[in-house]
Amino acid sequence: MKNFHFLFAAWIVAWAVFLGFQISVSSRISRLRDEIDRLKQQLQNH
């Protein structure tokens, strides 16, 4: 198991890249949902 740390790092990095992207997409979606609610409210008040 001489190179185990490389194997471990590769799996961790690959999942971190996907997970990081997914978290970023989810947070952008929730921000946009809030903005859409705010805009709809603004439109009703007009």
């Binding site: 198991m1 001489k2 190179n3 185990f4 490389f6 194997l7 790092a9 590769a10 799996w11 990095v13 690959a14 890249v17 996907f18 992207f21 997914q22 997409v25 989810s26 952008r28 979606i29 946009l32 949902r33 903005e35 859409i36 805009l39 709809k40 603004q42 439109l43 007009h46």
Partner: protein, 238 residues
Amino acid sequence: MKMRSASTVLVAALMMFAGYAALFIAPDERTMHEIQRIFYLHVGLWVAMFTALTVAFVANIAWLATRNPKWDWLGVSAVETGVVCCTGGLITGVLWGKPAWGIWWTWDARLTTCFILWLLYISYLLLRGLLEDPTRRATLSAVFGIFAFLDAPLVYVSNRLWRTQHPAPVIFGGQEAGLDPTMGKVLMICMAAMVCVMVIVLIDRYRLERLRYEAEELRLEIENRAADANSLVTRSVS
């Protein structure tokens, strides 16, 4: 929502099984031993990337043909997801290269064409950020996306055309190529798992683009109503 949760759980289970198969079921490779197990993840990521970029290519052509914004949303979503897979593929390649070749990176044909592909799609995303008008942004990025995709087949054939540092292909690589049957099955499971993860992420990314469009439409409507109200006030004053 239930369907989405069920598919996420299913993909997570498939992913866990793929990881278990790659680490414990696949036989040990004779020369590289345990480090060769990066192969299942590395190839899986590239297959997911090629799938995403092919979707983007089709969406770019469809946008130019139909001008339906849905194709633009799909195009940018698939490119961003493809770039994520490409980044993962490049990093896992670097982490495999060091113990296998003794170097982190070399400007070999396969590695260079992959790096160029990554740069091209990063440029695609930067280009979109620079353009304000939605129609112009969609058209220019679709044209650029079609041009960028020309590098994808070159990446695929690069280690067939030029024999440099990167190993020759083990799948569809001619008579001398081949893979142990168990390794082949594990690779298929890993490729399916990575493509499924990519699809789940792509669906979410598409949802984000659809919401962006909805917000843009609402903003425009508010601006139009404000302009109408202003012109009414001006007319009544005059």
